[in-house]
């Protein structure tokens, strides 16, 4: 007799939190074996997430009515804390598992020093556990705490190489993160003062367009925009992401930034939904266009490979902002935005990992002197190019489908009679061209004539993992239907 998937789902959700925390705690207590614990833990968490997603999709029709909510310690909201799993969080959990597994495997090759390994693995496992908890949290204050877990471990990972550039980037990153968290917390406090509850679902039921909600929306959005480095609050991103070790950059640009964006989306679809007006959407969209132009310009100007990738994150997140006004006109567009964020995270992580391999081989990442290494390492260049193609949005890649769907939504806006829709369509199409320009800048030296120089030997992990992840990013297009279907299992979404 097999029980229905719904009965197992709550235990599986709490188990995911417990498992990812247990891996982090064991690695902290036993740093000498941290890399082995990390490897097996990463495989276990990855398998668990896949199992959970199978359970979730199997339980599908029931889950559509209400998200699966787990009362921790048996205390239901408003007294206790609830974990909250729906299509949106499930999608991001799977994304996190894929990128995190790839990063873990890559780190096996990248961080081989005995002492560094002991510092890196526990922090990285805490970061991953923090991300899992962030996507599963259904309580406003708990979100603040998980955000702090994520940001403190991320800052520590940026700093842990101990170089001047990394520490200076980390200090900036930490101050920004604390400021963002405090701003977010002030918003939570305001909401709590007004409604007397912290659970997001209960808050959503009680919220209206009053002064408290307005101020809380401003504070929480500003705080999360700081953390997600959304334009115009983006200046910290490039130094922090560009000077961190490659696996850390990959996780920061791929997952941590996406986590903040996820929260923004969740809040604006739930608690702050009554405040979303067309004027607000246009304001956010204009910020997105500015981010797209500024980020691309910086990426075209930067001299270091990892700087280019870091600035392209600013530009690509401009896309996500451009999608905000589309979401207000076309209620279905939010799923496309999430799909775009997922593809971007996969592609961005593989670009950073490939850049890390090249940097390791060459000993630096100055683009002007990288030609020889690029020519000698076709596998890594292919990974860079494949992921880059996905970022550009060429046909048959995940990025193409995401951008196509976005364009479709933009055209729909124009047909619905909105003049400013033209701007969004131009921005989406032009952004793709700009992305093509800076991706070509990265890979072009590989096709010039010149001497080959393989540089430092590279471990097989560092050679193959970027390629594997880039392939996943390119193939994500085929998972588009499944992703969009999973996302429909989000209650309360339009």
């Amino acid at each position: 007799m097999i029980e229905a998937p719904e009965t197992w789902l709550p235990t599986a959700i709490a188990g995911l939190v417990g498992l990812s925390l247990a891996v982090a705690v064991v690695a902290t207590a036993w740093p000498r074996q941290a890399h082995r614990i990390g490897l097996f833990g990463a495989l276990a968490v990855f398998a668990w997430v896949l199992g959970l997603s199978a359970l979730f999709v199997a339980a599908g029709p029931e889950a559509e009515a209400a998200a699966t909510r787990v009362a921790l310690g048996g205390w239901e909201a408003p007294l206790g804390l609830m974990l909250h799993l729906d299509g949106l969080s499930m999608t991001l959990l799977v994304l996190t598992a894929i990128v995190a597994l790839a990063t873990s495997l890559y780190s096996l090759g990248y961080i081989h020093d005995r002492i560094e390994r002991r510092q890196f693995w526990p922090l990285w496992l805490w970061l991953w556990a923090g991300l899992n908890m962030l996507f599963l949290s259904g309580d406003a204050f708990n979100l603040y705490i998980t955000l702090e877990v994520v940001s403190l471990s991320a800052v520590a990972l940026v700093a842990f190489t101990g170089t001047a550039a990394a520490v200076s980037g980390a200090v900036r990153y930490l101050l920004i993160n604390i400021l963002g968290s405090l701003s977010f917390l002030m918003g939570v406090v305001l909401l709590f003062g007004e409604h007397g509850v912290l659970d997001l679902v209960l808050l959503e039921a009680r919220s209206e367009a009053g002064p408290t909600e307005r101020m809380a929306a401003v504070l929480m959005t500003a705080g999360l925009m700081l953390k997600a480095a959304l334009f115009p609050l983006h200046v910290w991103l490039a130094p922090a992401h560009g000077s961190a070790p490659a696996p850390v950059s990959a996780v920061l640009s791929g997952l941590v930034v996406t986590g903040s964006f996820y929260l923004l989306l969740r809040l604006w679809m739930g608690v702050f939904a009554p405040l979303a007006t067309p004027a607000f959407g246009i304001l956010i969209g204009l910020l997105g266009v500015a981010a797209l132009i500024w980020g691309s310009a910086q990426a075209l100007r930067a001299g270091r490979l990892k700087s280019i990738v870091a600035y392209s994150t600013v530009a690509q997140f401009g896309y996500l902002l451009v999608a905000f006004p589309l979401m207000l006109v076309d209620p279905d567009a939010w799923r496309v935005v999430v799909f775009f964020a997922v593809v971007h995270a996969l592609a961005k992580a593989s670009v950073f990992l490939a850049a890390g391999t090249l940097q390791h081989a060459a000993g630096h990442d100055r683009l002007a002197e990288l030609g020889g290494v690029l020519r000698a390492r076709p596998r890594t260049v292919f990974a860079l190019g494949l992921a880059g193609v996905s970022l550009m949005g060429l046909p048959f890649t995940g990025g193409f489908i995401a951008k196509y769907l976005l364009l479709e939504a933009g055209l729909g806006t124009i047909l619905a009679g909105s003049v400013i829709g033209v701007l969004w369509v131009v921005a989406i199409a032009g952004g793709g061209l700009l992305a093509a320009a800076y991706v070509l800048r990265m890979v072009a030296p590989a096709f010039h004539r010149g001497p080959e120089r393989a540089g430092e030997a590279v471990s097989p992990w560092m050679d193959w993992v970027p390629l594997g992840l880039a392939t996943v990013a390119a193939l994500a297009g085929f998972a588009g239907t499944l992703t969009l279907h999973t996302l429909t299992l989000t209650p309360g979404a339009p």
Partner: protein
């Protein structure tokens, strides 16, 4: 007499202290923007945090009856988080000063095209100490 009762109501702790907390929050923000020394910036963030906690506790003490224990528990958690973040931030600042010789962060985007060492190749880093100091490497013009 009515006016006096109104005043007493307005000045009740449940309204007075949240106002004070909001002022502290704004003041911390002002200090964070204006001051450059990292220790002062960390103090400014702590003052902002205290403002948030004052609002939360003030909100909890509103109305009749005993104060809300959930809000107080949240504040306690928040204070612990703030202390940990402060201690970590101070450690980072000391480390930054050791590497660069200054503990000041000037506004504006830093020069991110400065060369970056690659730890996957660095063997001398194995002692856990920092790499050779780079005097004033990332000071902005």
């Amino acid at each position: 007499m009515n006016g006096l009762a109104e005043l007493a109501h307005t000045l009740a702790p449940g309204l007075l202290y949240p106002t004070g907390g909001a002022i502290l929050f704004a003041m911390g923000l002002y200090g964070l923007i204006r001051r450059h020394h990292l220790v002062l910036r960390i103090l400014a963030l702590n003052i902002m945090g205290s403002g948030v906690f004052m609002v939360l506790l003030g909100v909890a003490a509103r109305g009749e009856g005993p104060p809300d224990p959930v809000a107080q528990a949240l504040t306690l958690t928040g204070i612990v988080v703030a202390v940990s973040a402060t201690a970590f931030a101070l450690a980072l600042v000391v480390h930054l000063t050791r590497l660069t010789g200054h503990a000041v962060m000037l506004p504006g985007p830093p020069d991110d095209d400065a060369p970056v060492e690659d730890i996957s190749r660095e063997e001398h880093h194995a002692d856990g100490g920092p790499a050779a100091p780079h005097p004033d490497q990332d000071r902005n013009p």
